[in-house]
Structure formats: structure tokens, C-alpha cells
């Protein structure tokens, strides 16, 4: 049987997105017309199975499951009838003009649109089925993949889809979430069984017929160019076909990945000197700390009242400086991409993309093509954490593919994944609080200084005189009311490339603010939780989160000797998150026993997936606090692999992480990032409580080693 394809598109309410149905032919049938499946959210087959194009990249955060659950609940089908993929970039999947996954937006940005898509699909299917059966649409429903009238099955869903493809589309009203079967329930992740069997095709695993491998050899010094390349030792490696050069390095081309790596190790490159050859971590640190004193260069980011006057009139001043280093993302999959030239002179690209339009546009620019000539496919990501938001590796890969004229997998080794950077910025801060005679906070001035991530990461850079929002993130929009309040920032740019790192500015600024509050609490003779409650007295929602974490985390209750608790609260990405960390010091090593997390994200769509995000964020926050920071020497990142860039291992992970969700009817908050920022200061504060010594520079282990 051959079924003509007939795609019906219409604008749903608000005009923000297009819903399309495509009736796909049954397996084995001749395809009778061209379709553009990536322009549609849903393809409903005549077997009732649904292909959902999710606007997000699945990198472990679970949004594909959340989106499948929304569609399954709205239409009324079993969850396993919905298969999810990421489409090529096109308008229905763009937000603010481009397609990408970041800012913990995967559920909160798409909750309303996808509910509307699903509801409209359901209504269209019902209308078509009702017309066929001569029944009033109001009496027809879809349950468990069947179209029903009263207690009777009218037709299978696939039959309704076939009818709907040639019927006028309808607009539907989303169901009451209280009636959902998968959303808000213990719904298993759709991608996990295959991941456990090692089946998913990650970018690293993807192949094309006739594909060759290209191992990148890149300048260790940022912005460095090759001065001289001796190809002979690389070409002598069995399996190596050729060497391709490009600005900033070369690629060794071979028939296997191993031969390409072996050839890359043999390639002899001497690098031209750069203006940054002498750059070191010490110099970067000194420049940032000097920036803290530059009143004239401080750009105001927030000012409530006259903080300077309030500080000068305060009975007592508490002041401290803090510093964090650049940290690396280290997704477990080193970056790679597969590119081939197409018959029409364009490019087809498969890779691990968090920003589809940015990558497609960059490939097109480098190749001198119109973006419409570049087909870009998103594969399963072996971790993202922000490192796949950029496009920095792509130009060399495109140039290599154009030179090789064969399908090519261009890949970085782990040494480049860590050493080529795009790091979380290094940053320093000076915090000054004014207390009145009764110990109440009446003024707070927070100054941060450091490089602008936006200058490094955004193609448009950051104009002089503007504040980089990420440098003051969570400071300008803090929920605390510390009286007169000033936030400013001194820009101290460096060559070191930077990108958003999970939770972005909330990581360093959350640490600065929350560690400092424990300093203030100690100076004022107050309990850290009591101090935060004072600063949030106006905000019942925040107090509820604080109180829940404190209660569940046994705040104030007795502990075994040698253990202490620390507390932190950070509001980021629309979610309020408080954590209690219980830690001890044993033989110079920090041991984290237990972390209790309370988060108010208003609505939890996939509770177990969200819990996993809290656990992962907490582990990553503890990892960065304890171990992470690159060492810059001679203009390069000196850490090149996991033997010199330490991240948390299982034996260092907490014994217990408990997460408590708080739901309400507020706007949905994010989940992917907000669990991370409090973990760092909560641990720092636990160690402060334990030792009486504040930790004002990260990572912790380096401070303990120097103590």
C-alpha cells in the first residue's frame, strides 16, 4: 500500500510555532512525495507511532524524555510510541532567531509550546475521526493510543492520523496537568536502555562510507600559528594518507582513528611566537586583583540606595577578597565532527551541537556557502556542560574536509579538549558588608573583576563600557535584601578563551556571595541560616526553600566529632536552590558525607530525571570546589589530560545526596544548572565551620596544600 504524503501545517495560537502532521508510509512502502521532516514537530505514522522533533539537544539532561512525556500525555499514547530526535535548524525550533540548548531552558521554554502542539494534534486527530464516524467531536477522545467514543474503540490512532492528514487542522487546548500520566510521575528516561547497552551512536561513533579520520594538531599557545611543519615522520606512519594544514595547526589524515592519532603524535611542528608566550596564572591573578582597586574603571551593575554612604556610616565592616581560576568543562567525549561535501557543492555535517544555527552559519562562512547549503545533524552528545555551545573547532574541520574531498571525521584528542580551553572565567571579588550596632546588615558592596566571557565567546564581543552580565550573574538579581546594595565590575581581559560552563556566572558569584555571608554571620555572631532568613524575610518562597533544606539536612542538630555542616542558597535560572553539605577532613583529604538539596523549580516534569540533574550538578559543584583549575604557564594550559586536570571520582563522591522538590504555581524554573552553584559554597562553609578558617580561593585542595 502506498499512501501519499500530505503535510498540513498551521500556526497555533500566538503564531510562535508551526505544527505539522506528516503521514509517513508504512515500512517498505514507496515514498510518494518529498517531505521536509525537520520542519515539523510531529510525524504521526499510520501505525500510530509518533516521531517528535525536539528543539533541544540531548546531552544527558533528559529533555528528550520530558518532551516525549508532554506529547504522549497531550495526545494520549503510551510513552514508548514517541521517538525523539533533534531536527536540523529551522524556524519552528528557534528561540530568539537561533536554535540551541542552554540556560536550563529545555523544559521551561518548551513546556507551553509543546503542550499546545500535542493538544492541537490531539484535537485534529479527534476531529478527523469524529467526522469519519459521524460523531460529535466532543464525544470522541484518545486514550492509550486508541480513538474512542464512550466505551467503544472507534479506530486506531494511525487511522485517525491518515484521515487527519487530508482534513483541516484544528487548534487544541492543553489538558490539565493534574491528569497527566507521564509528566510529573516516575517516568523512565527514553534514552537509557540503549545507553546501557552501548548502542547510541555518539558523534565519536558515527561513520560514513569512505570516511577518513583527521586528528587535529593544534597550537598549545592560544592564538598560536605554525611556523614550520615537518610532515615526513607523520607520513611514515602506516595508514597515514596526508597532512592538511590550516591556520593554527594541522590535521593528520588516515584510514583509521588510531593511525591518525599515531601520525599526529609523530608530526613535527614548531610554533611561531605570540604576544602571550609568557602568560602565567600568577600574572592573570595579579591583574585581576589589581582590578579590584580600580574604582574609576568599575562599571556599575546594580545600585540600591547609597552603599558607599551606608558603609561609611556602619558600626562595623566585614570585608573579604575571593578568587577562582579558569576551569575546564571536560565532557567525557572529546570534541569531534564528521563532514562531507555534497553533490550540489554544499556540506553535510554530523556532530555534537548545542547551538545548531551558530555551527551551521560558521561552517557556511568558512566554506563560502549560503547556510541553506549546509545540512547539520545533531548526534548524541557525550556531555556538554556548555562546551558544545561554541563553534571554535569547526573552521579547521571544514577547511580540512574541503581539502580532503572525502567524508572526514575531524577530531581532537583529550589533550586539546582540555588544553584548547573555552573555560569558565577566572574571577576575583571583593565583598564589603556594613553592620549596624545590633549586627544587622545595612549595606553590601560586591565588586568583581576579571575577563569578559562575552568578549571571548559572543561573536559580537562586549562593547567597552558595558557590563558582562555573566560577571555579575546572581549578584544583580539576588533575592537577598542587604540594605544599600551596590554591584560593580572591573573588566580585566585576557587571551584565554572562555565559554559558559554549567550555571555560568552563578558558579563563581554564588561562591563569593555565599561564602562571604558565612564570614558576615560569624562576625555578627549569627547562625548562617538565621542570617540568610533575615536577608530573605520579605520573600516567603525563598524562606520555604531555606527552611526545607535546613530541616531535611538536620541543620543545627548534633554531629559526630570532626564533622561540620555548611549551608548555601543560590537563585539561578528561575529556580531557588538551597543545600546543606556535611563534611570532614581526614588525613588532609576532604570527605563529603551527605548533601541535602531543596529546590523550588515550580513544576517538576520528570522527577527522577530532575533528581539525577541535582545529583550530577552537586557532584560537579563539589568537584570544581575541591580540585579544579587550570594552570597557565608559557601562554598555554599546562593541564593536558585527566592525570593533571583532576575531576571528582566515585571514591570522592558523597555517600548520600537527597533532593527535595518544592512545587507551586509559579513560572517553571530550570533544572540542568541550578543544582550546581550552591554545592561549592556549602562545602566551603562546612570546612569554615570545621576549621574556623575561611577558604577564599579555589580549588580547596590547593589551599589546604598551601596551608
Amino acid at each position: 500500500m502506498t499512501i501519499a504524503l500530505d503535510r498540513r501545517g498551521f500556526l497555533a495560537a500566538g503564531g510562535a510555532f508551526t505544527l505539522s502532521f506528516v503521514v509517513a508510509p508504512q515500512a517498505g512502502a514507496q515514498q510518494a512525495g518529498a517531505t521536509s521532516p525537520w520542519t515539523a514537530y510531529l510525524t504521526i505514522g499510520t501505525d500510530g507511532r509518533i516521531a517528535l522533533m525536539s528543539p533541544t539537544t540531548e546531552m544527558g539532561q533528559g529533555t528528550h524524555t520530558a518532551h516525549a512525556a508532554i506529547i504522549a500525555d497531550e495526545i494520549g499514547v503510551p510513552l514508548n510510541w514517541v521517538k525523539v530526535d533533534t531536527p536540523m535548524p529551522s524556524d519552528p525550533f528557534r528561540r530568539g532567531g537561533s536554535m540551541g540548548s542552554g540556560g536550563s531552558a529545555g523544559v521551561r521554554a518548551w513546556w507551553d509550546p509543546l503542550r499546545k502542539v500535542g493538544a492541537s494534534a490531539r484535537q485534529s486527530l479527534i476531529n478527523a475521526a469524529a467526522a469519519q464516524a459521524g460523531a460529535p467531536a466532543a464525544e470522541v477522545s484518545i486514550q492509550d493510543g486508541q480513538v474512542r467514543r464512550g466505551g467503544k474503540v472507534l479506530m486506531p490512532l494511525g487511522e485517525a492520523a491518515r484521515l487527519a492528514a487530508t482534513a483541516p487542522p484544528a487548534e487544541g487546548t492543553p489538558r490539565d496537568p493534574a491528569t497527566y500520566r507521564y509528566v510529573g510521575k516516575q517516568t523512565p528516561r527514553v534514552d537509557i536502555p540503549a545507553k546501557v547497552r552501548g548502542e547510541p551512536v555518539f558523534s565519536q561513533d558515527f561513520t560514513r562510507p569512505g570516511m577518513v579520520y583527521a586528528c587535529a594538531v593544534l597550537s598549545p599557545v592560544w592564538t598560536g600559528l605554525a611556523r614550520q611543519i615537518n610532515e615526513a615522520p607523520a607520513l611514515a606512519v602506516k595508514g597515514v594518507q596526508r597532512v592538511v594544514t590550516f591556520p593554527g595547526g594541522a590535521a593528520v589524515i588516515a584510514g583509521t582513528q588510531w593511525a591518525a592519532m599515531k601520525g599526529a603524535a609523530a608530526l613535527e611542528v614548531s610554533w611561531a611566537s605570540t604576544a602571550y608566550d609568557g602568560l602565567s596564572s600568577a600574572a592573570i591573578s595579579a591583574a585581576m586583583l589589581a582590578g579590584l582597586d580600580k574604582d574609576g574603571e568599575a562599571l556599575q551593575a546594580r545600585a540600591d540606595g547609597d552603599a558607599a554612604a551606608a558603609l561609611s556610616g556602619a558600626a562595623r565592616i566585614v570585608e573579604a577578597d575571593y578568587e577562582v581560576p579558569y576551569i575546564a568543562h571536560t565532557p567525557m567525549e572529546p570534541w569531534n565532527v564528521t563532514i562531507e561535501t555534497t553533490a550540489d557543492g554544499g556540506l553535510e555535517i554530523w556532530g555534537p551541537f548545542q547551538t545548531q544555527d551558530r555551527n551551521r552559519n560558521t561552517a557556511a562562512r568558512v566554506a563560502g556557502l549560503d547556510p541553506s547549503k549546509v545540512k547539520l545533524h545533531t548526534l548524541m552528545l557525550g556531555g556538554g556542560f556548555g562546551r558544545r555551545l561554541g563553534d571554535d573547532g569547526l573552521p579547521a574541520a571544514v577547511l580540512t574536509a574541503l581539502a580532503v574531498k572525502k567524508p572526514v571525521k575531524f577530531f581532537w584528542r583529550r589533550e586539546d579538549e582540555i588544553g584548547q580551553g573555552y573555560y569558565r572565567p577566572a574571577q576575583v571579588a571583593r565583598l564589603r558588608a556594613g553592620l549596624d550596632a545590633a549586627g544587622k546588615v545595612v549595606a553590601l558592596h560586591v565588586r568583581t573583576a576579571g575577563p569578559s566571557m562575552r568578549q571571548s565567546f559572543s561573536p559580537a564581543g562586549l562593547p567597552k563600557g558595558e557590563v558582562d552580565g555573566s560577571s555579575v550573574q546572581t549578584l544583580t538579581d539576588t533575592l537577598y535584601r542587604p540594605g544599600a546594595y551596590r554591584v560593580d565590575w572591573v573588566r580585566v581581559d585576557q587571551v584565554v578563551p572562555m565559554a559558559p560552563w554549567r550555571a555560568v556566572g552563578a558558579t563563581q558569584n554564588g561562591y563569593f556571595m555565599e561564602s562571604f555571608l558565612d564570614d558576615v554571620a560569624k562576625a555578627a555572631g549569627k547562625d548562617p541560616v538565621a542570617l540568610r532568613r533575615e536577608l530573605l524575610a520579605h520573600d516567603p518562597r525563598a524562606l520555604k526553600v531555606i527552611d526545607r533544606a535546613a530541616q531535611e539536612g538536620d541543620w543545627g542538630k548534633p554531629l559526630p566529632a570532626g564533622r561540620a555542616r555548611g549551608f548555601a542558597f543560590v537563585y539561578s535560572y528561575g529556580s531557588l536552590c538551597a543545600q546543606v553539605v556535611e563534611a570532614s577532613l581526614e588525613n588532609g583529604e576532604v570527605k563529603v558525607h551527605r548533601v541535602t538539596c531543596a529546590i523550588d523549580c515550580a513544576r517538576v516534569v520528570t522527577p527522577d530525571g530532575a533528581r539525577n540533574q541535582m545529583e550530577g550538578g552537586i557532584v560537579q559543584g563539589l568537584s570544581s570546589a575541591l580540585f579544579e583549575g587550570i594552570e597557565v604557564g608559557n601562554g598555554a594550559c599546562e593541564n593536558r589530560n585527566f592525570d593533571s586536570y583532576r575531576i571528582m571520582r566515585i571514591n570522592e563522591a558523597p555517600a548520600v545526596i537527597e533532593t527535595h522538590f518544592i512545587e507551586n504555581d509559579q513560572v517553571i524554573g530550570g533544572i540542568g544548572e541550578p543544582g550546581l552553584p550552591p554545592a561549592t559554597p556549602a562545602l566551603v562553609n562546612a570546612l569554615f565551620a570545621l576549621t574556623g578558617k575561611p577558604i577564599r580561593k579555589l580549588p580547596i585542595m590547593a589551599q589546604l596544600a598551601n596551608a
Partner: protein, 149 residues
């Protein structure tokens, strides 16, 4: 030419003897469940079993294990208890490291039927997970070995 038994099947591989087992599996045998993560035996994403022992296949020359039995994630039975526990407790996030984690867990459970937390931590410390699924890994190993998590 090196003879091996891979997932129960005898194979003769043409890769040069100094080729790391990982690349024999991925490049020559098209078994891509074991991953390249670091190349220096620091992350464990490449872990497979050789003679029942978990090894970092990125740093083990195939010529050194001639005649050995190699088991990769693709060679586990469909109803494998470790994989079932991994699904039951929803362990993976991105999933890239998980084949290596699971093969390390297989090696641990072959040696120690009911490992405690300390034994799990010791056996699994060579397998990094940047997504931070460590607590679920601990619990899943206990579940797979019939212990309360």
C-alpha cells in the same frame, strides 16, 4: 595478525601488534561501545574485559593479549543483571562513560559477589563520569548483586 576471542567469537585481527585494543575494537571490528576518552588509562571510558578482568583498552597493545578472550558491552547477554540494575535505577545521563562503567562493574562482581561501598569505590575509581552519576552507580552495583542499596 593476532588471534583473539571477542564476545565469544574467534577472530584474527590485522591491526599491528602495538595497536591498542581499543582501536582494534573500534577501527577494525566496528565495535564502538568502548569509547575513547583520554588515551592514557585515566578515565576508564574504554574499559572492556580481557580474560574476565577489566582493562583500559586504550593502553593495552593487542599483541600483548594474543589468544585472550575479550568481552565488550556488545557481548553482554540481553538480560544482564548489571545492565538491568542500571536501567532500574536510571543511572546514565549522557551515557558516554557508561559502557566502561558497566564493564568495570562486571569485573568487580565477578571477583566480589556482594561488594560494600568501599569495595565499589576502590574498583570503580578508575572510571570517570563528568555527569556525576556516581551515587547511582554505587546503588546499581548493590542492586545487581542482590543487596539493598
Amino acid at each position: 595478525m593476532t588471534r583473539l576471542t571477542v564476545n565469544g567469537k574467534p577472530v584474527t585481527v590485522a591491526s599491528e601488534p602495538d595497536t591498542p585494543l581499543l582501536w582494534v575494537l573500534r577501527d577494525e571490528l566496528d565495535l564502538k561501545g568502548a569509547k575513547y576518552g583520554c588515551g592514557i588509562a585515566q578515565c576508564g571510558a574504554c574499559t572492556v574485559l580481557v580474560g574476565g578482568q577489566p582493562v583500559r583498552s586504550c593502553s593495552l597493545a593487542v599483541g600483548d593479549i594474543a589468544g585472550s578472550a575479550v568481552t565488550t558491552i556488545e557481548g553482554l547477554p540481553r538480560d544482564d543483571a548489571v545492565q538491568k540494575a542500571w536501567i532500574a535505577l536510571q543511572v546514565p545521563q549522557c551515557g558516554f562513560c557508561q559502557p566502561g562503567q558497566i564493564m568495570s562493574a562486571k569485573g568487580l562482581l565477578a571477583e566480589t559477589a556482594k561488594p560494600d561501598d568501599a569495595a565499589i569505590d576502590a574498583a570503580m575509581a578508575g572510571n570517570l563520569c563528568r555527569c556525576g552519576t556516581y551515587l547511582r552507580i554505587r546503588a546499581a552495583i548493590k542492586l545487581a548483586s542482590g543487596q539493598a542499596a
